[in-house]
């Protein structure tokens, strides 16, 4: 959702070109100067959205001809409406087209015909803004301009459509992440698909060396003595204990000096689950001796708050709760020394059931 799909990048370029061109060209239509500023802005944005749809046809025509045809109709309709702001039924037609386009997109991503990406969400954002501009009443309109209905739509329907767009994009992204996103906010390192025998052996070696090196930290007092400190709330099933000196030193996948340890928080005290290697810089993935077995991951678009050192995820409209800021964590690789049947010893996450079982033991 926070990436730009390769076949949609052209749409973004088209939008950047279309916006100033539309602002220049549309003013030559009849009645432009008499139109209100909101109508003019809506027309420019509709033309931009139309050009984005037209630009995407080329990449869809071979594999998805129906989608390409819909893009064509949609794009032409948007441009047509942008060029006819004097039409008596312009607001009604524009509202219908904008709502249909937004709902159509939500249907497409909900059933899996498209994945939500930055171009798609940005275009919907443009269309939501446009819808607001089309609906908002302006001074000096004729008496029969349905002002009450438009105010109601603006105050109720537009917020509902905005929330619906955000929640659909988010649910789809969480339910169907692409292959490089194991779950929302975690981007996997690109690797080969299947491990070779050498990669399998290297992963086994890394596992054995790391497990042997961190076993003494089963006694959490030794971890404290070595400089590891718990981070985040202690009421969570597990906690990361970080060693700031090792983070600052920038050791790269050194089994004797992992930057973090992960403990299950049990009523009998912390129980060691594994180690975490972390790179120093964002976007810099570490060495990957085990290929797909030891792929690093980077948490992106996290809303971090210093209050209680807690996290949530950024919304599709790129906002965080008040008091939280959007950050990314530099790439990391976990080594789980307890049995983790769902994901294996290098999985991004440890199975919740494993942690619960340990807590009960």
């Amino acid at each position: 959702m926070f990436d730009i799909a390769t076949d949609h990048a052209i749409g973004l370029l088209a939008a950047l070109v279309a916006l100033p061109v539309a602002a220049l060209v549309l003013r030559f239509q009849q009645g432009w100067s008499a139109a209100s500023g909101t109508v003019q802005a809506a027309a420019v944005l509709m033309a931009t959205s139309g050009v984005v749809h037209l630009a995407l046809i080329g990449h869809h025509i071979a594999q998805h001809p129906v989608t390409a045809a819909l893009f064509l109709v949609n794009g032409l309709a948007f441009i047509g409406l942008a060029a006819t702001v004097r039409w008596r039924r312009w607001r009604l037609a524009s509202t219908a087209l904008l709502v249909a386009t937004i709902l159509g997109y939500l249907f497409y991503i909900a059933v899996g015909l498209e994945g939500p990406d930055q171009v798609g969400v940005a275009t919907k954002l443009i269309e939501l803004v446009t819808l607001g501009l089309v609906l908002v009443p302006v001074r000096g309109e004729p008496a029969k301009s349905h002002r009450a209905l438009r105010w109601t739509s603006l105050g109720v329907a537009l917020p509902m459509l905005t929330v619906m767009t955000a929640s659909t994009a988010w649910i789809v992204d969480l339910a169907r992440p692409d292959p490089r996103h194991v779950h929302a906010g975690a981007l996997l390192q690109a690797t080969n698909a299947l491990p070779t025998q050498e990669q399998q052996d290297a992963a086994n070696r890394l596992y054995a060396e790391t497990k042997a090196a961190i076993l003494p930290y089963q006694d959490s007092r030794k971890a404290l003595a070595a400089g590891y400190r718990p981070e985040g709330p202690s009421n969570m099933p597990s906690s990361h204990w970080m060693n700031q000196a090792y983070v600052d030193a920038g050791y790269v996948m050194d089994p004797r000096r992992p930057q973090g340890l992960v403990y299950a928080n049990t009523k009998h005290g912390p129980v060691l689950l594994g180690a975490m290697f972390q790179m120093k810089n964002i976007g810099q993935f570490g060495p990957d001796p085990g290929g797909p077995l030891t792929a690093w991951h980077q948490h992106e678009n996290i809303c971090f708050t210093p209050f209680g050192f807690e996290f949530s995820l950024m919304t599709p409209f790129a906002t965080c709760p008040l008091g939280a800021i959007d950050v990314s964590a530099s790439p990391m690789l976990h080594v789980w020394i307890v049995d983790n049947p769902k994901g294996g010893p290098f999985a991004v996450d440890i199975d919740d059931e494993v942690v619960k079982k340990i807590a009960r033991a």
């Binding site: 105050g155 537009l158 929640s167 807690e310 996290f311 919304t315 008040l322 008091g323």
Partner: protein
């Protein structure tokens, strides 16, 4: 109004994490929802051409813009995608432009 919706969505987005045991996030989520409600009312104030509403929106947009530009400039891995730029930079700027009318237009 759109911005207040975005803050409301941000507030709602925090709630699932409360179920996971992050209780400070609950406070932030509720604060975001309250802020969204206040900004919605302020937006109505702008529509009714109230001077206090214009002043309030300008202050909020300045804070938003400075915060967003800081996030973009600092090397903390903040999102620099088109949606983020539109929501956090272009939208506040657009609100500024829309409020550029002379102060006398507000009562």
């Amino acid at each position: 109004m759109l911005q207040s919706m975005f803050w409301a969505i941000a507030g709602l987005s925090a709630m699932p994490f409360v179920l996971g045991g992050e209780f400070f996030i609950l406070g932030l989520g509720v604060a975001s929802l309250l802020f969204a409600l206040i900004m919605f009312l302020v937006a109505l104030g702008v529509l009714w051409r109230r001077r206090w509403a214009r002043r309030c929106v300008i202050v909020v947009e300045i804070i938003c813009l400075i915060g967003s530009l800081l996030l973009l400039a600092l090397p903390i891995g903040a999102n620099h995608g088109p949606v983020s730029l539109m929501t956090n930079v272009l939208l506040p700027v657009a609100v500024f432009v829309l409020l550029r009318k002379p102060r006398e237009a507000f009562v």
